[in-house]
């Protein structure tokens, strides 16, 4: 009997390889994906009793192939005759398989939630139930979202093959964004009341690591991996015993994961030396500067300010604008930061407060590709982070009444319960 402790990991590693082999053999992604999912469930049920087969991948490919025939047989009598002849699929695994699969799951015809869901299942090997738990959705909704996404891909007539070189760069951008969203979904939700969730951050890091291994020359994939490692390293210190959020400046840095930081820094250093710079690398560099400060007061804010300046040029978005203002205040003092905020508020009024978008995805704070909004975007006027930054700078400047008022306003506007609690306690502390 093989070792069973790593069974879930083994199955998740094999899932995309098996799916790719089966799709390559039969072509119909929709039915193949269902069949592989069932083969994985069968393995999870049987292997603990029978032991892991000597060739687990081939076992899964064979079972998935048979299951596919059964699924189609149930579908129509016509299909039954066509598929009754069982061909043993060549259990070949090609180098690009997982990448082709990732690109397919992040197909531009799909909505972002559909891309995320399909990636978790087809590439990540998670079950519908696990995805539903992780995304806090009913299982039926996730199931429907997956089958709808597969139908859409079928309707586009996309083949299971590498996109044309001209198209690849853009398609890879979508893949990075989806992996980043999966990471955030796990990371940002890892605070607060403990909910039973699959470790989405771990899953995102695993998939990004695989992608980085496949495309070591892609600077932004490397940057994304470094960013995830450098951010996740702080996770043990970012929540208190009752789930309360602990801000960066107050975290016990001894609890940060030193190995993850070292790995992130090494990847980043290597990448910055040889690849063209990109938004994920810049964000990773900012995270590295924070991680390398032994105490908050050792933080090299000058360096962070320069990095945010570059990010602002390369991939401007409202959250980058705000974070840059924080860095300005840390380097030049709160008065300068507050003046920059006022300027922003003035620009926002000019831009027309009627176009408020009101989105509050904390992920947006680090989203490099998404927001192409100019500084002074009206989104910022109603965003809780604008109020939170103003409160913080007012507190630094010694205007405690003003700070309290803006912390309260930020607490009202945030959609995050842990942030709400944090901002309220911050306001209460100033009494």
């Amino acid at each position: 009997m093989g070792d069973l402790t790593g069974l879930p990991d083994l199955l998740r590693d094999l899932a995309p390889q098996v799916l790719a082999a089966v799709v390559r053999r039969y072509g119909d992604f929709e039915a193949c994906e269902d069949a592989v999912q069932e083969a994985l469930l069968a393995a999870a049920r049987q292997w603990p009793a029978t032991g892991v087969p000597a060739q687990p991948r081939n076992w899964l490919i064979t079972v998935a192939g048979r299951r596919r025939v059964e699924l189609l047989r149930n579908e129509t009598a016509r299909r039954r005759r066509e598929d009754a002849v069982w061909h043993e699929p060549a259990p070949e695994v090609r180098g690009d398989d997982e990448l082709v699969l990732l690109l397919l799951c992040c197909h531009p015809a799909l909505t972002v939630p559909a891309q995320v869901t399909l990636t978790l299942r087809a590439v990540g090997g998670l079950t519908t139930a696990e995805i539903a738990r992780a995304l806090l959705l009913p299982e039926a909704t996730v199931g429907q979202r997956i089958s709808r996404a597969k139908q859409r891909i079928r309707d586009t007539g996309t083949k299971f093959e590498m996109p044309a070189p001209g198209e690849l760069a853009e398609r890879l951008g979508a893949v990075r964004q989806v992996l980043y969203l999966i990471f955030n979904e796990g990371y940002t939700a890892s605070s607060g009341e403990q909910l039973h969730r699959v470790e989405l951050t771990r899953e995102a890091i695993r998939l990004t690591r695989q992608l980085h291994r496949r495309l070591p020359q892609d600077g932004e994939v490397a940057g994304l991996l470094a960013l995830m490692l450098l951010t996740d390293a702080r996770r043990p210190a970012r929540t208190g015993p009752n789930g309360a959020l602990i801000p960066l400046a107050e975290q016990d840095r001894g609890r940060w994961d030193a190995a993850a930081i070292a790995e992130g820094v090494a990847i980043l250093t290597r990448t910055l030396a040889q690849a063209p710079i990109g938004p994920f690398q810049l964000q990773a560099a900012i995270a590295a500067v924070h991680d390398e400060a032994a105490r908050p007061e050792d933080t090299d804010w000058q360096q962070i300010l320069i990095l945010y300046g570059l990010l602002h040029t390369l991939a401007p978005n409202p959250m980058v604008t705000l974070n840059r203002i924080v860095a300005v205040a840390m380097v030049h003092g709160p008065a300068t930061g507050l003046a920059a905020l006022d300027e922003l508020a003035g620009a926002a009024e000019l831009a027309g407060a009627a176009e408020l978008a009101g989105t509050d995805e904390p992920a947006g704070a680090q989203e490099p590709a998404g927001g192409q909004l100019p500084a002074g975007d009206p989104v910022l006027a109603r965003h809780h982070r604008t109020a939170a930054v103003r409160a913080h700078l007012l507190e630094m400047a010694g205007d405690l009444d003003g700070a309290r008022e803006h912390y309260r306003q930020a607490a009202r506007l945030t959609l995050s319960r842990p942030e709400q609690r944090y901002l309220e306690s911050r306001a209460a502390r100033l009494r």
């Binding site: 909505t111 972002v112 939630p113 559909a114 869901t117 995304l135 806090l136 959705l137 009913p138 039926a140 909704t141 996730v142 199931g143 429907q144 979202r145 997956i146 089958s147 709808r148 996404a149 955030n184 979904e185 940002t188 939700a189 605070s191 607060g192 009341e193 909910l195 951010t231 702080r234 970012r238 959020l245 801000p247 960066l248 978008a357 009101g358 989105t359 509050d360 995805e361 904390p362 992920a363 704070a365 680090q366 939170a388 959609l415 995050s416 319960r417 842990p418 942030e419 709400q420 944090y422």
Partner: protein
């Protein structure tokens, strides 16, 4: 992101209702059923319900460990919640597009509100 689409009943919507023909009223009801089905089909529906009349409400409170109930609405207000759709979509734009399909939007209006969650970014 999750959003709730709120369908309110108020004097304005009741006045509109009075002007509708039987056929229009049937179509209105079917419109909600169709919308629910479309949301389910698209994989965005988390939950959706229409609510009974406020006259059927029960108020519940606990004092000294005892549960006290009383019949009727919480307060005599002219507006009450008549139903809702809870959906999970990409962003506000997509939520608004769904809200626009609610039959009420064509006669009065519906409200879209974001839902609080447990997420939190590094502060």
């Amino acid at each position: 992101m999750k959003y709730v689409i709120l369908i309110q009943s108020n004097p304005q919507s009741l006045a509109v209702w009075e002007t509708l023909t039987d056929e229009q009223r049937t179509d209105f009801g079917l419109g909600h059923l169709r919308l629910t089905e479309q949301m389910r089909e698209a994989g965005v529906l988390v939950a959706s319900e229409g609510l009974g009349d406020p006259a059927l409400a029960t108020q519940v409170s606990v004092r000294d460990g005892r549960t006290i109930t009383s019949d009727g609405p919480y307060a005599e207000v002219k507006e009450h919640l008549a139903g809702f759709y809870l959906i999970d979509v990409t962003d506000l734009d997509e939520a608004v597009a769904w809200a626009a399909k609610a039959p009420d939007a064509a006669y009065t209006r519906v409200e879209v509100r974001p839902v609080l969650d447990m997420s939190a970014w590094e502060i």
